[in-house]
Symmetry: C2
Subunit: 207 residues, 2 copies
């Protein structure tokens, strides 16, 4: 996907711009960042920025693209290697390896993803990520929906789960990744299966 950039100067420049971008995102958030801010902090000429990016939005998009391509690659590889014959039922634990791989990738790119998902982040990125999650859930689970057992509308359920997953990732990054990818994956599957109330240990009358 990334054409061979033989020239080291380009790597160096782009890396320095990205580092400045992450620092400035933490400081003031995307909106407040100016190209002058970026080139000043990256210690490069302002004109150089425009040789690589159309504007700051282009910079953001190129960074996002790398993340989504990385996620897609993991998902595709996983399902390509899976030969399960899912019919009427499936075992949720079979998906744990995929979840773990995805959280490892997120951890590897945590600096960039964290600022985009943070309070001063970019809601377009959050939306895209949520949509990616929802698309994958829909693709893998829609076949198991038994219409006569559905209690809540599927689109609302999808929005519920997708947002919950996104929120968990946000919290994990916000906490400095204080748990292992395995723990996070387990939390998600347990909550999905047993439900928020039960996993909380709360005793509640069900009306």
């Amino acid at each position: 996907m990334i054409p061979k950039k033989t020239d080291r100067r380009i790597f160096r420049t782009k890396r320095m711009i990205m580092e400045a971008f992450i620092l400035l995102m933490e400081e003031k958030g995307f909106e407040a960042i100016t190209v002058s801010d970026l080139t000043e902090k990256a210690d490069i000429n302002r004109g150089t920025f425009y040789q690589h990016y159309k504007d700051k939005y282009d910079l953001l998009e190129q960074g996002e693209e790398e993340i989504f391509e990385g996620l897609k690659k993991i998902v595709d590889t996983f399902w390509h290697n899976e030969n399960y014959d899912y019919e009427e039922v499936m075992n949720v634990d079979d998906l744990l390896p995929l979840s773990i791989q995805l959280f490892e990738f997120i951890g590897d790119n945590s600096k960039f993803i964290k600022v985009l998902l943070g309070a001063k982040g970019n809601s377009a990125f959050q939306n895209k990520l949520k949509n990616v999650i929802m698309d994958n859930l829909l693709l893998r689970f829609s076949q198991f929906l038994k219409e006569d057992h559905v209690i809540v509308p599927p689109d609302y359920l999808l929005a519920y789960i997708g947002s919950a997953h996104l929120g968990l990732i946000q919290h994990w990054l916000e906490c400095g990744m204080d748990r292992s990818p395995e723990d996070i994956a387990r939390i998600l599957s347990q909550t999905a299966i047993f439900g928020p109330v039960k996993v909380s240990g709360i005793q509640i009358f069900q009306g």
Copy 2:
């Protein structure tokens, strides 16, 4: 909270600015909006804008404040009028009236909230709203947590539920509020109690 603004001109100006703001949020998102855009679309002099707002961020904050004050008022009033003696257990359905009232308020202010929660929205607002939800959940449910029954870390569970609620509101607004506040409240409580998997009707092996 809002001091008496006797002069009709101020009301008129502020209303026109807010209408322009909502339109421009849909068009280009908060970041791309300029004060010149706002005053042009609102058909007022640019200098007039600065008599009411420090800058576009101030405009956003004043709008947000009204929303959060409205939500807080509903919550406070509800608990002030409640005399339940919650001890070891509680009935989730008792909270439905509160949820319904909150969704009605959100519906009444849907134009403004929708653009802030949308794809071109403001992630700071989304974060604030999520935190309000989480604070209220924590305040009302932490007493029912039985430590030895907790399966997932409370902070992660809170992030999970808070994000899920936010996501459901986003989806509801995105769908043009195609369901009643009662429906939305019921979806939330059902999913919390039975869990995403069970309410979906999906048949799954629990590993």
